[in-house]
Structures are given as C-alpha cells and as structure tokens.
Assembly symmetry: C2
Homo-oligomer: 360 residues x 2
C-alpha cells in the first residue's frame, strides 16, 4: 500500500530520519549507554521548554500525564477549563480519579478568558487548574499569557497546562509563564511517533506532590525527578522514543527555534487565508486561531469523505473531517511538524482540486 | 558504535525484521487502517493468551498496568506476594495508590507457596492478590498452577498475575488458570521494543472495576474493553508497537507455539547445566528455576564487570551482573525471545572464555 501522508492534527507525518533513529536497537535502560543518551537530550529539552526545571519523558500518551498531574497535585478541588473535546474530557478524568472538580465551560471555538478564571479562583476553593492551550478538536488557541498573568495572583493554585498540539510550534517559556506542569504529545508538532509525552514540573508542583499520599507510582513526579538526577527513568521507558527525540532535537536546533516558530506561523496564515478566500469561515473566534492546525467551518457543505478519497488516491495524503460533535460541520488542516511552507501551499492546491472533484 | 547484543533479561535483542515493522510510518489511530491492524492482531493475541477474553495493549511499560490493576480492582485489601525486587515493590506501589496492602514475603530465590496464600486468603480480608510468576530479579518461577488451584476457593479475590518475563516463553493459559489480570512486558520474551504492555482481563475483573469509582481513566479496564470492541484504544496508542506486535505474532505462529515453548525450555536447561558444570550454583531454590533466564550464584567470585567488558569487546554482547541487593553476588543469563539453542551454546562458550580472561 502506498504511504499516505497525514495532514491530520496528530499523529502527523514522521520523517524517515526520525523513523530510522526510532528503530535503533535496544540498550539496557539501566546501562551507561542509556544514561548517556538521556544526558545528551536533557539540556536541549530544557532549552526547548525555556526552563531550568527538569524535563521528563513519560512512556504514555498525553492522557497519562494529564491524569498524573491530577493525581500528583489535586487535594482540594480542580478547576477544569473546557472548550472542546479534549479539555471537556479532562473534567471527567479528574472525577474518575476521585477528585473534586468544577467545570468552567465555554462554547467550542470560544476562548477561555483570564477574567473568568480570576473570578473562579478568587473563591479560594481551588488548588489546581487545568488548561488546554491549543484545543486540537476546535483549532482554538487560548490566551495563555493573559491567563498566566492571572495565575500569579494565586500562588497556592497549581497551573497545569496541556500544550499537546502547540508545543514546538511556538515559544512557550515554562519558567517565565509560571506554569507548574506543562505537557506535550510526541505525535503532534514534535513530529515523532505516538506513544510518549514530554513534561516539565515546577518546584511548587514537586512540593505539592510530596504532600499527596495516593499519587501512585507510574506517574509519580517525585520518582521522575529522583531518577532523572542519574539520567534514568522510574520504570522501563520506551527507549526508542528517546532515540527519536534526540534526532528530532537535532532537527530543531539545526533549523533554529525562532525559524521553526516563524515557519509554523507562516503556514497557519496561509491555511487561514486559503479558507477565507475560498468562501469558508474559521471555526475559532477571531484572534484565537491555532498556530499548528486550522479548523475550518464547512460552510460550503463540502463532502469531506469525498475530498479525502480524492486526496488519498491522487495525492497520497489525507486531512481530517472534524472531531466529536463538530465532525462533518468542520474539517481540520494540520500544518505542524516538519511541513515547509511550500508543502502547505501544495496541500491547499490539492484541496482546491479535491473540492472541485467532490462537486462542491 | 558496534551493535551490542543484549543477553540481559530485558530489554533483549529485537530482530531487524521487528525493528523494520516498528518503524512503519504513522496512521491515524482513529482510522480504518488502525482498526484493521488491531483487528488482525486480536484473535492471535487471544490464541497466545489461550483466552476468549479481550487482550489489550497498553501504552505503558508493565508497571503502568501493575498499578492499573491495583486501581481497578482493590477496594478492600490486596495481598502482595513478594520474592524479589519487582514483586517487593508492588507492595509499595499498592500503598502509593492509597490501598490497604499486606506483604507475604519470602526470601529472594524461594518460591511463593500455595498453602501460605491459602492461609492468608482464608482470613477473608482480601479482595485481590498480586503474584509475579517469573521474578526477573532472581530468576525464580513461582508454582502458578498450584496457586491458581488455591485461588479457585476464593471467587471474590481478584487474581492479578505478572508474567512480564515468562510470557511467550511457556504456555500460560489465561482462562484455564482462572486469572483475572495477566500482564506481559513487550521488551522481555516477546522480543519487542520496550514501551508497551499486553494484558488480558476476566469478566470477574471487569465487574469489579465497574464498582470502583476512582479507578482513573488512562488505565481504566472498562475503557479498554469499550474501545477494543471497535478495534481502538482509549487514548492515542504507541501505534509502532502494534506494527511490531503484528510482525512478532507472525514469527510466533510461523515457529509454532509449542516449538517456541520447547526451544525456551531447551535453552534454559543448557544454561542451568552449564552453570552447575562450571562449579556455580543456581540462585533459585531447586525446581523453581525460570524458563526464560538463569540467575547464577556467583560462588566463584567471578569479576562480572570484567566478564562483560570482554564479552562486549570480543563478542559484541553483554550479560547482566545481578539486580538490586544481589548485584555482584549473582549474574543473569537471558535466553528468552528469538535465541536459538545454537546461540545459547555460543553464549556459554563465550562465557567460558570471558571467565578465563577475567581471571577466575
């Protein structure tokens, strides 16, 4: 079967170079070879997270660390900011972990507002808040800097931020923003295989975790810290992801982080302009469009399965036909990862052709 | 750097064929392509587990599912059978999950005894028991069939069994043994890359999980079951491990399971005979030696780091120098996975040479 390139918002295309690194033969995870590998990666991860804190690699997808953050940090009550399929679900997950949780729900596509968070945190009821920076289901990016400014007023509240699909597509400085847990999925903008999650933890979060007795083991943040001090992981890691990550970090720093971020923004602007020019609307509220994917309102009622069938057959690629309750009424173009602006330009040409063929 | 072949008890050598499958480009995990992949694997996993129950793949190492089993199934108290580094730790993990736990501890190398379990379960205090079938740290295999026979007397007790390093090295029939959760690490006898865990769950365990309110999400057994019904996983899986698993199952059924099991036993017998013939003793109590690795008492005080240095330099391979509190006083030879009897014969010749060079 021909390889089908993924312009869906994760998993995305993984380069042959990354896949070759990923397929490096095993080493023992308690060996000097593994320690050297992790030691080589660590400072560059810190540079990418813009932090002096340790950065960890969890052998789970992002939901593992999302649940882990709840288990490590919530003893009173968590405020779940909800604006799409994934952020909505975090509220359910908090309750499934036996924690008290409150929903701050906005309509899908609308932003989470700093002042609304402020009002809720002012009650003093909460010791943690969860925010998805870039809601992948709706292509909406929340105002992280404004929200971080509000959080500074609440030093007892743990600020848990999911940047699963925006991380490495723009600068997200962990220390400067005062974030307590920041987590990123490997299969999104990092352009690595699915199956691991990068995360950083603040000193404030470590201190809080130390007070929580039933935080578990597999995602115990203190175990991660202790083991990382000797360049190891608490349990057997997906060693292959460490190899892929080393290769990917080489790519990032060869391109230059600023260039990488600029490329993602240029690609996003192209995709947005294309959608508007072709008579579609953007799903997110104006000013809150994601930098890594474009969620388009299917105002022309294009038959997206037909579009995808043509893209697959003629151009060996696929886009995404919408997620959850907005499946069909939206479609999503991913422009994260390694995609050059030329590639995105091509994708948009192919879209034009596919829409014509689909008869819209 | 030359490739160093791993004769340590996990991660072990992964074949080039498996690594090639592992490095297959991504597909969307909500796509028909992924569903077809999982659907192809499922019946063969059931054949391997000898079960009619669903078999799942968790994107965690084994500790994820070991913790998950505790969270899904323990409401009263868990009995942790402890006889080595990993089984001892399960007791700590149960407590870190906020569960009441009791230790049944035997000396490392001694077997867990069915009658001792019987005595403890007869108190009626327990609703779950954890057992590591093949304690990797000591190379000791517990009498699973005898223990399973005792467990039949206690239908309210969940029987959680870790076969991390014995699975696929011998027949472990899930349904026949009446096990409730059986979990296996990919990086051991399955000869796959580290980073995933196979597990099966009984109807009794699903029913119990449904009564536990804070069982979480990432390892919620009911979520796994619901998603597996449509050939999917609750969260983004390590898709690469599914590809590797498909390739590996091809290998298993091409060799034939009975041949595979016979090969592992033959290799184990070779290694044990070599150790005894060379004046060493076996660490496990007689009759309880593991079929997948041989833990040797270093009665000749061989300098194992020197042995390993020679093996590495001359034969591009390594063995293991012991784990935890028996590091140095034992060493471990792994003969699990794809190793032919000829390979193990060679390894033992190399050991002879290396021991001579090390000056023992």
């Amino acid at each position: 079967m021909a390889h089908i390139k993924l312009f869906i918002p994760g998993p995305i295309e993984v380069s042959e170079k990354t896949l070759r690194a990923f397929a490096t033969p095993m080493v023992g995870h308690r060996s000097k070879e593994f320690q050297a590998l992790y030691a080589e990666i660590k400072p560059r991860l810190q540079e990418l997270f813009v932090t002096k804190q340790p950065v960890f690699v969890s052998t789970t997808s992002a939901w593992g660390v999302m649940e882990g953050a709840i288990r490590n940090l919530v003893s009173k009550k968590v405020l779940n900011c909800m604006s799409g399929a994934f952020s909505d679900k975090w509220f359910d997950v908090a309750k499934k972990c036996g924690k008290a949780a409150e929903a701050y729900q906005v309509e899908w596509g609308q932003p989470i507002l700093a002042e609304e968070i402020d009002k809720r945190l002012a009650t003093g009821e909460f010791d943690a808040i969860t925010l998805i920076h870039n809601e992948t289901s709706t292509g909406t990016m929340n105002p992280l800097w404004e929200i971080a400014a509000v959080l500074r007023k609440y030093p007892d509240v743990q600020f848990i931020v999911d940047v699963v699909s925006s991380f490495s597509a723009m600068n997200i400085p962990f220390d400067e923003l005062g974030i307590d847990v920041l987590l990123a999925g490997t299969q999104k903008a990092l352009a690595m295989p699915a199956g691991a999650c990068l995360f950083a933890v603040s000193e404030k979060a470590f201190a809080k975790a130390a007070t929580i007795k039933d935080r578990g083991y597999y995602l115990d943040f203190l175990e991660f810290r202790k083991n990382a001090e000797s360049d190891m992981t608490p349990t057997t890691p997906s060693i292959s992801h460490f190899y892929a990550l080393r290769s990917k970090l080489d790519d990032f720093f060869t391109e230059g982080l600023e260039n990488r971020y600029a490329r993602h923004l240029a690609n996003a602007k192209l995709a947005r302009a294309w959608a508007l020019d072709r008579g579609f609307e953007l799903f997110p509220a104006a000013g809150y469009e994601s930098v890594s994917l474009t969620c388009v309102k299917n105002t022309r009622n294009v038959d997206i399965p037909k579009v995808n069938a043509h893209l697959k057959k003629t151009y060996s690629c696929v886009i995404d036909g919408g997620y959850g309750k907005i499946k069909g009424t939206t479609f999503r173009l991913s422009h994260m990862g390694d995609e050059s602006t030329e590639n995105i330009r091509l994708l948009l040409e192919w879209m034009d052709d596919a829409i014509k063929v689909a008869g819209a």
